[in-house]
């Protein structure tokens, strides 16, 4: 069962060291993302039994990735002390893992094919929720990279409205809205979080059904300082599900 969840951005800027010197906009985002991950860890470690943090993020294939796989930092930011490493993680999983560094948790890195159908994402979400023990989800994904002319993907006039709808859904734990996100539109708008959010929607829905919980969202961050929409949001269940 899912006992807590958070959504954080998948931007490589959150990988340690990638901005060179500190960048104020990134540090503000990092603070919010770390706080969201901290909330999930705190909720998950309450009580005994099996406690597991599952990081869910877009990947080339659906499946789990080794928790100790190398960081992709050297592929994105090669430097003398930071070389590309074979078998490195997809960026979203590496970002999620980096936010959990230092926490003594059982960590599973769950990749979801970023092109997976909503139905496949739903099945994966139900499967994660059915795993034994108390599970905290760290869901890594962000919004459109086509919000404005200076955005990485240039401008698409549909981007702001799509991001606003996603932001509302994340801020209100609107599970049907996330489940209904259109993969084609998300691809067009360079919205990378779609598959991971649909896993989140299904996993939390599953716990709601089995434990009668509802979800309360709390937004720690919403912004687009570099033309890509980022959110940091926590979702906590009420009442807390009991095994």
């Amino acid at each position: 069962m899912i006992v807590a969840a958070c959504c954080v951005p998948q931007t490589p800027l959150l990988l340690p060291g990638l901005t060179g010197g500190p960048v104020a906009e990134v540090e503000e985002l990092r603070t919010a993302a770390l706080a969201a991950a901290q909330t999930v860890v705190g909720q998950t470690l309450v009580g005994g039994g099996v406690n597991e943090i599952v990081v869910v993020g877009g990947a080339p294939r659906t499946g789990s990735y080794p928790a100790d796989a190398p960081t992709p930092a050297g592929r994105l930011a090669p430097a003398p002390g930071r070389r590309p490493a074979p078998g490195s993680l997809p960026v979203p999983l590496a970002v999620g893992r980096s936010l959990l560094a230092g926490h003594p948790v059982l960590l599973t890195l769950q990749g979801v094919d970023e092109h997976a159908s909503p139905r496949s994402c739903g099945e994966l979400g139900h499967e994660i929720a059915a795993r034994p023990g108390r599970i905290g989800l760290v869901v890594v994904g962000d919004g459109s990279a086509r919000r404005e002319e200076k955005a990485p993907g240039y401008v698409d006039p549909r981007a702001l409205e799509a991001d606003a709808a996603i932001g509302d859904a994340l801020a209100s734990a609107d599970l049907p809205a996330l489940a209904a996100l259109n993969p084609g539109l998300c691809d067009d708008l360079l919205i990378r979080g779609r598959a991971a959010w649909q896993v989140l929607a299904a996993a939390t829905e599953s716990t709601s059904q089995t434990h009668g919980t509802s979800w309360t969202a709390h937004t720690l961050y919403g912004g687009a300082p570099f033309g890509v929409a980022y959110w940091s949001v926590t979702w906590l269940p009420h009442p807390t599900p009991q095994a």
Binding site: P78, P80, E149
Partner: protein, 285 residues
Amino acid sequence: MLRLGRRDVGEDLLIMAIVNRTPDSFYDKGATFAREEALRRVDEVVAEGADIVDIGGVKAAPGTEVDVREEIDRTASFVAEVRERHPDVIISVDTWRREVGREACRAGADLLNDAWGGTDPGLAEVAAEFGVGLVCTHAGGLPPRTRPHRIEYDDVMADVIARTTALARHAVDVGVDPERVLIDPGHDFGKNTWHSLEVTRRLDEMVATGWPVLVSLSNKDFVGESLGLPVDERVFGTLAVSAVCAWQGARVFRAHNVAPTRQVLDMVAVTRGVREPVRTVRGLA
């Protein structure tokens, strides 16, 4: 041996001055969109020591669509005017389109600067047909006028070398004179700042392929991000990386700021021992 236009380049380091026939390019913001301003700019850069002028009709970043007709209008007749006014300057045209390349060559261009990395394979055939040179650039496989976003490489320099040398071999295969082919790592094209810094520090690997290397560094974002400076304050950073590339063997430097670039390249050449100092009397008399 590198040959461009009628010139045997030998060991010289060349400056390719940027002349934009665009209303919206990032550095000059349309200053030479008008014909008269552009001609004045050409006169100025030639006087400052530019060997090549690189005439472009479409800015690299995304923006207003410029179709083939419009791009030809902006470049071809201007090439003819520059040819007449400066018979010895090497004229390059910055385009990825074969139709534009063909009209530019008819008007007298000596070099086609394919900054988007072989998007239109027909451009090499145009270079062959007219006996002009070709710049084969690494853009990471991105389509023209798109920005890099979260791009990863197993090894960015290996990718640069593989793609640019493949483009160069293809050019020779379709008939381009092998002494008129250059390769360009494409700083910031399909690369974030870290990638551009990596190709800068490892440029010697590209030089070792034997193809002459052109670098386009001028006032780019990797300089700006490295130093935390806006576009109008990047000249010193540009000159520093120009020196680093020259030291490692780059041959052609695409630049906005010609006079200071000339000084830097001459100083590097003197330091490497491939150019004689102008006057060395101190302590020798």
